[in-house]
Symmetry: C2
Subunit: 338 residues, 2 copies
């Protein structure tokens, strides 16, 4: 599935342009599934200024500073015009270090907005997902899951995680929240995408993930292998004849040596970003495919243990400080792909 | 055919790396024809400092300032290690505004170097091409063509044109020089690649061209059509449903609207550069294919007139000042893709 973002598309090229071009599938020539995020997360993380009320959010564009006003109803209208297969409610996203009281108020507003989004829906061929908020409080997550479940949505997302809190907290809150959501509906953990986190999420009942991580780190030269993430820019790879990942069947690994990829990155050739991206997406697709098979064979737990025992993850202190640095840089630059 | 450059590959990743990886074809996974330029042009246009003697050229890398010495023999040795199908002699390239005397001395040195390159050749499965110099002097071009022809090469290139002189001069000197070269050997006009120049070159007997222009202008958003070059960044294209070129059968035109390409360029999406490049290369390939068919049908002259009557070319004053500006910027930045 491809995820597209309503906030970005609203600002550029504009919802009306895509509608005129026949919708998002046709615009980007993608005939498989698309999910559009509501833009809530981007409004709260990218827009330099914003003013939230129960009505909606006034915000300034991170591109040109122009002022805009969105409401739950508008966000549904936009997503119906874009025509994705799965669409998301507008939610209010607090920071990971906001007070419990602030997190509670954001959650309650998210609930009122979810109800309005549900009522605003006109097309019946799009699946509308709610977003559970409540920060790192099990109690709030419980309230949020219960309330949104009572409204009845096509699927349920867990928002407000993986935004700078420690990884163990992400996993614990995911576990608590996922257990409260209907087992017969898709459960979607937003913004999570490293190989180890995918498996940990699946182990806790998650069905859907989204993340820019595999493509973002690819553009920085980091490629996934069964042993961990390697940086292709490292001088050690300058004369390596083997592909990036000998176990991989992707176009990049079937066709080129690691030395060639290293060379392309050294010269900042555009092809470098594409080849590394192809590999990382293939790696993630294969990992998810293997996880599905393991679930069907009732061997998921041993599959996960076996993968994780071979896969060296980034040190948690380093990961967390990089993540927080990136979130700060993003707030300054407004580049959600950072 | 793909052109690769010995100067660039010598500096990064180094000739030995490519040799170790099984040669250039294997390194870049391209099993069709490759031509390597000797690097003469780059040494004279990119290297920030150089010292030429009959022995060879001492130059500094435009990347890290390191000092290097190349000779005609080394350049052949490098190209044999790279393993291209067509290889080029080392030549000395004067500027378009150098004195006649300087141009003559460069030509004479180019002749001595061509002879040494010929003697240095060890592999008999690569076609070695000579490069005719002589600036914009018909007399010198005559001498150069005659001398190099007497040595007997697999093909003959015309160097030292399209480097900042007026277009009519390029065409006139091409015409004079091409007429002096053997009709049974490929005649190659170096550094020429706009649609109109290709047809003008073919009309004057040229068989082979090379140019970064179609891909470079694509990355700047300029796409070829039968009516001329259009800049996709222009706001007029923001809502155009038609493809970039309705007559085109390339992947980009078959798949996407002009509005989509415009959007990708507006957002600096990497896909923009790729899609525009695919279109421009396809346009040039189709143009050359049509020219070949017209030659075989003995209708080239009317084909050329018909194409040129519909194709709006860039104003010559603007073209020339842009070209000279680009050459100056390149000398400062060392980016041969500018």
């Amino acid at each position: 599935m491809v995820l597209a973002n309503t906030y970005h598309l609203y600002l550029r090229p504009g919802i009306a342009v895509i509608e005129k071009m026949g919708g998002l599938h046709k615009f980007m020539a993608w005939d498989r599934a698309i999910l559009t995020d509501s833009g809530g997360y981007q409004v709260f993380s990218l827009a330099p200024l914003r003013q939230v009320s129960d009505d909606g959010v006034i915000f300034r564009s991170h591109i040109d500073g122009s002022q805009h006003f969105i409401t739950p109803e508008l966000v549904i209208q936009f997503q119906e015009a874009l025509g994705a297969d799965i669409i998301m409610v507008l939610d209010e996203c607090p920071s990971h270090d906001d007070s419990l009281e602030k997190v509670r108020r954001a959650m309650e507003r998210t609930h009122r907005w979810a109800e309005r989004c549900q009522k605003a829906q006109r097309c019946n061929d799009q699946a509308l997902y709610a977003i559970v908020q409540g920060g790192i409080s099990s109690q709030l997550r419980h309230q949020s899951a219960e309330y949104l479940t009572s409204l009845g949505f096509a699927g349920y997302a867990i928002g407000g995680l993986s935004i700078g809190e420690p990884k163990q907290v992400t996993l614990d809150i995911t576990e608590v929240t996922a257990a409260l959501l209907p087992k017969n509906k898709p459960r979607y953990l937003m913004g999570v995408g490293s190989p180890e986190d995918l498996l940990e999420g699946i182990a806790r009942g998650i069905d859907i993930f989204d993340s820019a991580l595999p493509t973002r780190v690819a553009r920085n030269g980091a490629v996934f292998t069964g042993q961990g993430r390697h940086n292709i820019r490292n001088a050690a790879y300058s004369q390596m004849e083997q592909p990036v990942d000998s176990d991989c069947d992707c176009y990049t690994c079937r066709t080129f040596s690691t030395a060639y990829l290293h060379h392309l990155f050294s010269c900042n050739e555009l092809l470098a970003y594409r080849l590394a991206t192809i590999h990382n997406l293939n790696f993630i697709n294969n990992l998810m495919s293997k996880a599905r098979t393991a679930i069907l064979n009732d061997t998921f737990s041993s599959f996960k243990d076996s993968f994780l025992s071979g896969y060296k993850t980034t040190d948690e202190q380093i990961r967390l400080s990089q993540k927080q640095k990136r979130l700060r840089a993003r707030n300054i630059n407004g580049d959600s792909n950072l």
